[in-house]
Symmetry: C2
Subunit: 285 residues, 2 copies
């Protein structure tokens, strides 16, 4: 039978619960989330069960939303989230209010240099500083041995790895594969915003990525050909999708590359109405 997770709303409380688990010799996992939990998060909780005590944080972090972005309408479903945590063996849920994480006078920021110059960082200035900052804070609050993130937000995983290394956090970063619906669309909290028609067209994001992954493995074409192939595929299969970016980058530092001879990350962002979807595929050498 699943046990109800402990709920902690304050930093003091979650620290107390973690310290108690730690004093019993348990290893600690952290899965940072913004709630609106889905199968992707469930897969992270399952991976985190490799540790003895799994902490999920649920916090819609305002510092990673731009002024024009969807902070206010970001989906919130605390009851369903807690049920999903319980069903996937989470031991403690840290659900702070905004003021608990950012009291008045809060000013400290963690930035990761040029890693945010490309991909989502380009269209979301400040986003990855907000991400790096809140994850640094969560690492200090929970002091986990391992922290778990999904590969769908690939740039986020690179930023967090760099931040962890750059500031010498003794935390192992574990990146789990993207979870997909049966038709290939990456599971995302934002999918719920899509109209039936947009939901259908959205499957072509992964369709395009799968196609070019196979193309790259077959004959390593120059990147502009890959981008043109994706653009054409989307124009046909997602006529209402507005491309934000299609980029081929070095998976290590996210800089643009011209050939696909070494390992590359193919990443894209497409807007359907006001809903922005992202996806990516890593193609080895």
């Amino acid at each position: 039978m699943d046990v109800e997770p402990i709920i902690a709303n304050t930093i003091k409380d979650i620290r107390r619960h973690v310290a108690s688990a730690r004093s019993e010799g348990k290893t600690i996992a952290l899965v940072p989330t913004m709630g609106a939990l889905h199968e992707g998060h469930a897969s992270l909780f399952q991976a985190a069960a490799a540790c003895d005590f799994v902490v999920a944080s649920i916090f819609v972090n305002p510092t990673q939303f731009g002024p024009q972005e969807d902070l206010a309408r970001y989906p919130r479903s605390p009851q369903a989230d807690l049920a999903l945590c319980r069903d996937n063996g989470v031991h403690a849920v840290f659900m702070p209010e905004t003021e608990e994480m950012y009291p008045p006078g809060w000013l400290t920021e963690v930035s990761v240099g040029k890693l945010d110059a490309n991909l989502c960082g380009r269209s979301r200035p400040g986003h990855f500083t907000g991400v790096a900052t809140v994850v640094a804070k969560l690492f200090n609050i929970v002091a986990p041995d391992k922290a778990f993130f999904g590969a769908k937000d690939y740039q986020q995983t690179v930023v967090i790895r760099r931040m962890t290394l750059g500031l010498n956090y003794p935390v192992e970063i574990v990146v789990c594969p993207t979870v997909r619906h049966g038709d290939g669309l990456a599971v995302s909290s934002r999918n719920t915003y899509l109209s039936a028609e947009h939901r259908k067209q959205a499957t072509s994001l992964w369709g395009a990525l799968e196609m070019v992954a196979s193309l790259i493995r077959r004959r390593r074409p120059p990147t502009e050909e890959v981008v043109a192939t994706i653009r054409e595929h989307l124009a046909t299969h997602a006529p209402e999708g507005v491309v934000d970016y299609i980029q081929i980058v070095d998976p290590a530092d996210l800089t643009d590359v011209r050939t696909t001879k070494r390992a590359v990350l193919v990443a894209l962002a497409v807007n359907f109405g006001t809903t922005r979807l992202i996806d990516n595929v890593l193609v080895g050498p």
Copy 2:
């Protein structure tokens, strides 16, 4: 009899020694320094003895020096430093090479917003980002219960307190009083650069601060009168000193204030040749 401190040159090594002390139930103190140790540092080590295991770090942190500053000629005296550590009960000295702290590809920075807009931050752009970053790294490497800093670098203590709070480090910041020579000059690694004549004139920094502290306590004059009084005192007693700044600020957020009715920090920086000296006095309400 004093025991030779453990010397650790790598992050892995110092973590091992700290973990061993921690496993014996010992509390951990960190005293971050740039070496060239003097009586001021000795007073920090003595305060740190309130913890069971005292770690001193000796690292001339390049990221807190500007391109025009004195990184290359910053004094280095490792043998004397180790003797001073031993004589003051330090248990372990962390002395990493630059590459150990900043390996290639290092990009992460911790910044503390407007706290560096005034005082030394104004004439040393980037300095306090470098300070906040290296201290954040040291906190993750050593995981101390308490960390000790001197009040001479007042702005630094405010930046570090803010960083610690802003990123939720579970570390208590302890600020120790400035140690002074018999004639009042604040002890500093940079004093050794002064010519005999400049050394004599330099005593007027504290002379001026003591005088205006007494003036403020007596009749709370407007800040411009305080600044003018200091400027006049220095013009008379330190004719070869070139004032970088004389500022009266709110001790909490370092913003300029106009009156001395509440607690104020009076701070100044004066250049003698290429040697920059700082000092300050906190005057309560």
